[in-house]
Structures are given as structure tokens and as C-alpha cells.
Symmetry: C2
Subunit: 105 residues, 2 copies
Amino acid sequence: MNSIEITPRCPIRTTLELVGGKWKLLILFQLTNGPLRLSILRKSIPDISEKILIQELKTLVESDLVDRKNFGEVPPRVEYALTEKGRSALPLIEEMRKFAASYTA
Amino acid sequence: MNSIEITPRCPIRTTLELVGGKWKLLILFQLTNGPLRLSILRKSIPDISEKILIQELKTLVESDLVDRKNFGEVPPRVEYALTEKGRSALPLIEEMRKFAASYTA
DNA sequence: ATTCATACTTACAAAAAGGTTAGTACCATA
DNA sequence: TATGGTACTAACCTTTTTGTAAGTATGAAT
């Protein structure tokens, strides 16, 4: 039953590497309802700085959790969207909501 | 549907404060099957240092996710166990397992 | 020529997290 | 008197993460 062994590559650690940290899940969550431009994303997460947002998006793209679409226009227009893999992180967020709710209760 | 608003106290952030970071979920998970002593816990998470382990356990106890039972013996004997609230974090780990599995696939 | 909008970069600084090493306390037993 | 076993602490340091402030590029519109 206790079938996760704590190793350098266990599921918990894999997940933490992909979506751990202060911002990644917040960003993924904002993309739930469809693609968003950087400027919108920034407004929806009020206290993130532009630099950090871009930086986090970059690693999410590298992890194939987020897709970046550059429209090649001027002024620049770029949209970020969840990939399939990104979508598979959403149940995690739902569990966090449940956990936080039961904890607070 | 997109009903989590990103605020200083949204469920995602609450959860991250409680169980975020490199070690807390690993520790909680090790306690799934019952109370463990510090020395055992340490062996089951090979690369954690004693200081960090104690430090993390302390904050988990303060958050009421883990219960600390001191038997008052010499040499010291102390057992750590999940509380009810601690148990409610286990589904989170289960989701992480699923996420990691689908990601790796 | 100047300004505007947007995505992104760079250099730097501060803060948080994580880590190492060497201790302490206690009583039992040798 | 010395040693051993266990949980825990303290001083110090390194690495990682996060933040701030300023600047770049582009072409259209004024």
C-alpha cells in the first residue's frame, strides 16, 4: 500500500520539479479556460513580477505543460495555453482546493 | 467554473504554505502507515539531513498536520504521526502520483 | 522625429530555503 | 569514570528563489 518509495525520482519529486514553487500552479490554473496573453496573465496574478512570470512560463513551456504561440505581429502578440500535459495538472489543483477547505474548516 | 481567484489567501497558496517545499509531502507520506520515530523517518528519506527533518517536523506539528508524542524516556523516544488534518493531505499525494505517471507516459 | 504598445532581457540585490558540523542533555550500563 | 543511544540545538555557510529597475526591439500611428 505504501508503494511510493522515496528515491531521487519518485512521483512526488517528479511533480515537485515540474510544478513546485510559488508560481507554477497559479499560472497553470489561470490558463484553465483558454489561452491568455502575457499582459492578461499578469493582471490575473496581481503580485507576480513580469520577469518572474516570463521566466516561469519559459520553464513551463520547456516542460511541455504550456504552449507558446507567437503571432509574429508588432506590437508583439503571444498567447499561452495549457498543453495536454498541462491539463493533467488541474486535478492536482482541485485536490488542493479540497485540502485547503478541509484544513480551514 | 474558474472559481479560484488568485488572492493572498486562495486555496492554492494556503496549500503551498502548509505543505509546499522540498520535504513536507515526503514526510507526510512516510507517516501513512502509522507513527514513526525520528531515526526511522530519517532512514526512509535517505537524503534529508537530521536538522532539516527536525525543522520540517516542527513546522508540521505547528500546523497541526503531524502529532508529536514524547514518551519521556531516556534515551529519548519520540513518535511522529499524522493528525486528521495530515491525513487529509494524502489524496494530494495520490494525485501527484497520477500526474507524474501520466506525465512520464 | 517622436511616441506608443507589447513581449522580453539584463544586471543586480534581497530573501528564503536548504545544508554542514559540532555540539547538548539525559540516564543506563560497563 | 567513561561510553552509548536518541532527540534536538546552535553557529555558520551555500544555493536557490524571488524581486527591482532599467533597457531592447519593432513598426504603426501621430
